[in-house]
């Protein structure tokens, strides 16, 4: 393979699933390029990525705040009422002396989701206004370090599992935060999984050229 300079490497894509090397080809707006070997998505081209990303990440942040301030579920066992909020989940663990689990849970469902959503909002805002070339690089590196540690969607499934366990023993009422959390998880999956980090890097390359 012959290349004129190192910049030409930007035209190459390696599949994240099976490591096959591809040459990047220009594709139509709103379409995606698939790996020729395993069929997984290599990259998509969206001319409005910065706009959409900014709008979605602001929405996600609003839903995440809502998910944190209201009760997630309320239960009623023989006249005894009780409710749980997202922060109460790990604060109760601290109260009963489980500091290690408390810290792990706190970071996985509270600190990292907030940081990641905020950082996505920041990076899309920078790309939208076409400013902060070096800052955007640092943010993207930070996001890729943090991303595997956000577990909001797993927490949502855990709530459902916990509630099914309680059926029969208690009356269950869903709180506002439960619906906000569902909305947040759906947006979060779109922002962090469907929009690939490499697409944001490609957009960054186009913008600051």
């Amino acid at each position: 393979m012959k290349l004129r300079n190192e910049e030409e490497l930007d035209k190459l894509v390696i599949c994240h699933k099976c490591y096959t090397i591809h040459q990047e080809a220009p594709i139509k707006d709103g379409t995606k390029a698939l790996c020729s070997h395993c069929g997984s998505v290599l990259y998509r081209y969206d001319s409005k990525l910065a706009n959409n990303g900014l709008a979605l990440s602001i929405t996600a942040l609003i839903f995440l705040v809502l998910a944190n301030i209201f009760p997630i579920v309320m239960i009623d066992i023989l006249g005894n009422e009780s409710y749980i909020t997202l922060t109460k989940t790990f604060l109760m663990l601290f109260d009963s002396g489980f500091f290690i689990v408390g810290f792990i849970v706190m970071f996985l469902i509270f600190v990292f989701p907030f940081m990641i959503t905020f950082l996505y909002m920041l990076i899309f805002a920078l790309l939208y206004f076409k400013i902060g070339k070096n800052l955007s690089k640092d943010i993207l590196v930070l996001i890729s370090h943090l991303e595997p540690w956000s577990m909001a969607e797993i927490f949502l499934v855990s709530i459902l599992v916990a509630l099914v366990k309680l059926i029969g023993y208690a009356q269950i009422h869903m709180g506002v935060s439960f619906w906000a959390l569902i909305a947040y998880v759906m947006l979060d999956i779109y922002i962090t999984r469907t929009i690939k980090l490499s697409e944001i890097w490609m957009l960054r390359n186009r913008i600051y050229k």
Binding site: M1, K2, L3, R4, N5, E6, L9, D10, L12, V13, I14, H16, K17, C18, Y19, I21, C38, V73, I75, I77, N80, S82, Y83, I84, K88, T89, F90, L91, M92, L93, S96, F98, I100, V101, I104, V105, L108, I109, K137, L140, V141, S144, H145, P148, W149, M151, I154, F155, V157, S158, I159, V161, A162, V164, K165, L166, L197, S198, W201
Partner: protein, 201 residues
């Protein structure tokens, strides 16, 4: 004009940019993260985390995960005990979810990581019938889901703390959370480039 072999192209694990493998120490040309940190100890870090995780997994199964306290009477249930109890009560889907999340996934991850770590060092699985990249990708996808049980315990403990009935977290929840945490660290410390190098021989 640079001429390179296609096999010398590597992917930055942080930003996924394609880089030329220059040997010992590579710095990504796009995000400036270093791609190889160690030249001598490339699997040891991953091994260390994995062994820690496996050690933590033992008390996670022996101690009670959840303690139910009813009218002063305390009863603890281990992970497997909880699954069996749910199965006997007829909640099959939940029993299966917990069984997969707390027992199958951690054990599967241990086995895949052990296989990958051994196979990149010794001649094993050279026939390429097993796509190790896909196997590694699988561990990254399913790994975090074993946290379900810890979250369930945290939610139940937060929700049920009445005067007569209380649910408390047990010792196993600490051990289990640490086990999952170290398995995740082990998978992240694994250098995917080793698979590629080993396939070439």
């Amino acid at each position: 004009m640079i001429e390179i072999d296609e096999k010398d192209l590597i992917r930055c694990p942080i930003c996924e940019a394609v880089n030329i493998n220059k040997g010992k120490h590579n710095v990504c040309r796009r995000c400036q993260s270093s791609i190889y940190k160690h030249t001598k100890f490339r699997t040891e870090k991953s091994w260390a985390y994995l062994i820690t995780a496996m050690i933590a997994y033992i008390p996670a199964n022996l101690y009670p995960m959840l303690i139910t306290s009813q009218f002063g009477h305390r009863e603890g249930s281990t992970i497997l005990g909880g699954v069996i109890l749910l199965w006997e009560h007829g909640s099959y889907p939940i029993a299966l979810v917990i069984f997969f999340a707390s027992i199958v996934i951690p054990l599967l991850k241990f086995m895949i990581l052990i296989y990958l770590l051994i196979s990149v060092k010794y001649p094993l699985g050279k026939d390429k019938k097993v796509n190790k990249h896909k196997l590694f990708y699988l561990t990254e996808i399913i790994g975090p889901w074993s946290m379900i049980d810890v979250f369930v315990v945290a939610i139940l403990a937060g929700l049920i703390h009445m005067a007569n009935i209380q649910i408390l977290a047990g010792t196993a929840s600490t051990a289990f959370a640490l086990s999952v945490f170290f398995t995740l660290l082990s998978a992240h410390a694994f250098d995917e480039q080793l698979i590629e190098e080993h396939n070439r021989g």
